[in-house]
């Protein structure tokens, strides 16, 4: 490292930092080291695992799409439109960030469960279906997405919107051609956050959508089940999830680096 030499890093800071690194790295390292590589292909090929992988991939993809479709306009509303009660709406929208996922699941059941306040009037059933999984995931991921995109919208402020308006653009044209392209890094970051949140979602999913192999059993739910019956399988599946999440995050990071 170059720069002025300010003296040695003091132990009082170095020691806790090192413990922190160990705390974060050691469990993941043992997970990688302790993986039964020999039986890995066999586990990967099993029906249950393939189904859980497919459900996780599909539900996380749909969740990201749901977040983009609902969350982008929501972030725009919070960042650009000065309406009464905006602060309250903003606070409410962000509650799921700090909500225990299992509470989110219970809330969804209360509202949309078969005998829920809204659910009992619906002509179709949401819980224990794939749409239930996506709904639960979107519920917990959306605040992350909104936060990221709202931040991106605020960094450019409204100044370019004003310029577009003086050139005769209405708000929709401005949103499409100016606001959204400028907030694209935030949209990508938010999507990555929402995707990662969806990938690991367990509590709300299992509470609201259950754990049925082939319909609602996602990877985390399968890992939870497997840990009781066959810890080796649980470790294998965990490794897959780890590789998947790290892999996609690295990919996204490189894309951003190119975009800049």
């Amino acid at each position: 490292m170059t720069g002025p030499r300010l003296g040695r890093a003091p132990a009082v800071l170095l020691v806790p930092a090192t413990i922190g690194i160990a705390l974060l790295v050691v469990p993941l390292a043992t997970l990688v080291l302790d993986t039964p590589w020999r039986t890995l292909p066999e586990h990967l090929g099993s029906e249950v695992v393939r189904e859980a992988l497919a459900i996780t991939a599909l539900s996380s993809l749909l969740t990201v799409i749901g977040c983009v479709v609902l969350g982008t306009p929501l972030a725009w509303l919070l960042a650009r439109v000065d309406f009464r009660g905006r602060r309250v709406v903003r606070a409410l929208v962000l509650v799921p960030l700090v909500l225990p996922p299992v509470v989110a699941g219970v809330a969804l059941v209360t509202a949309l469960g078969r005998s829920g306040l809204i659910g009992q009037h619906l002509p179709f059933s949401i819980p224990y279906t794939m749409s239930g999984v996506v709904l639960a995931h979107t519920f917990v991921s959306l605040p992350f997405y909104v936060l990221a995109v709202e931040g991106a919208l605020r960094t450019h402020g409204g100044s370019y919107d004003v310029v577009a308006a003086t050139l005769g653009a209405d708000r929709w044209t401005t949103f499409r051609r100016v606001t959204l392209p400028l907030a694209l890094p935030g949209v990508l970051a938010g999507s990555a956050l929402a995707w990662a949140r969806s990938l690991g979602e367990f509590g709300a999913t299992i509470t609201f959508a259950g754990n049925y192999p082939g319909t609602t059993q996602t990877m985390p739910s399968l890992i939870y089940v497997a840990l009781n019956s066959d810890p080796t399988v649980a470790r294998t599946l965990s490794l897959i999830l780890l590789v998947l999440s790290v892999g996609v995050l690295v990919l996204l990071r490189e894309r951003w680096a190119v975009g800049r």
Binding site: S159, Y160, V162, V163, A164, A165, T166, L167, G168, A169, D170, T173, R177, V178, P181, L182
Partner: protein, 319 residues
Amino acid sequence: MRVEVDIPGRVSADLEAAAGEVVVVIGPNGAGKSTLLRAIAGLEPGRVRVGDDDWTDLEVPRRRVGYVFQDQSLFPHLSALDNVAFGPRARGRHRREAEDLALGWLRRFGIAELAHRKPRELSGGQAQRVAIARALATDPDVLLLDEPFTGLDVSVQVALRIELGQHLRDFPGIALLVTHDAIDALTLADRVLVLDEGRVAQVGPPAEVAAEPRTPHVARLVGLNLVADGEDLIAFTPDAVTVSLAEPEGSSRLRWHGPIATLAPHGDAVRLLVHASPDLLADLTPAAATELALVPGREVWLSAKATAVSRYGAAATGR
């Protein structure tokens, strides 16, 4: 065409300009120059009439203005061409048509070869040309330019000022240009509008405003001393002032007294700023300055011959 702007408590101004005229707006900081432009564009709430139309409740996109912002504000993600084509497209032209139009404008500004560059790949002068082309491309009724030369190199300013003058001559609407530079006012304006504390202090052709300024700000811009004398204003150049240590003899009422604030070379002369009432400038030769042993803080007498000053009524005219 008549333009009336009223923002209660801040700016109240109306001006009459023929189509094709350039009105240069000058005035001290805080006089409301930018606010005036922003109100016409609808960026500040206020009552606005342009010609026979009431714009007060018109949304920003519906006002036929072109706005050149101080910092250019080019869309960073769009090429120069797309920046200029943005307005025509937003106002309903087809993509190809808008791009042809935009290319025409870039050609007129001599920067057609930069059409596909992003704003960050343009120099300050090039970016300002794109910004002006973008504002003109929507064919506005009123062109608003907010200090378009600020932040550019002096040589770039000179070239761009000449170029802008040519384009403004071809522009059929009225142009309002805010500046704090006397050169802009004198070279580009058909009419100069002096704002002071949100009100029109003076309107007139640039030569008239420069010769008979009505506000201390304009007097300073054009390098004149301005003194109120009853109902009249008196303007005179710094080299018409005589400096002496003792009270000048004779009956002239044109004499003032005060300490020297600053003393600096000005061309071949030495220019004094004297804290009389009001502040006055005086030029004298270096030899004279040395002989009188002038230093800041020294009390001096200033006087001017009645034949060397111009005297005119203080009431606002030139509407």
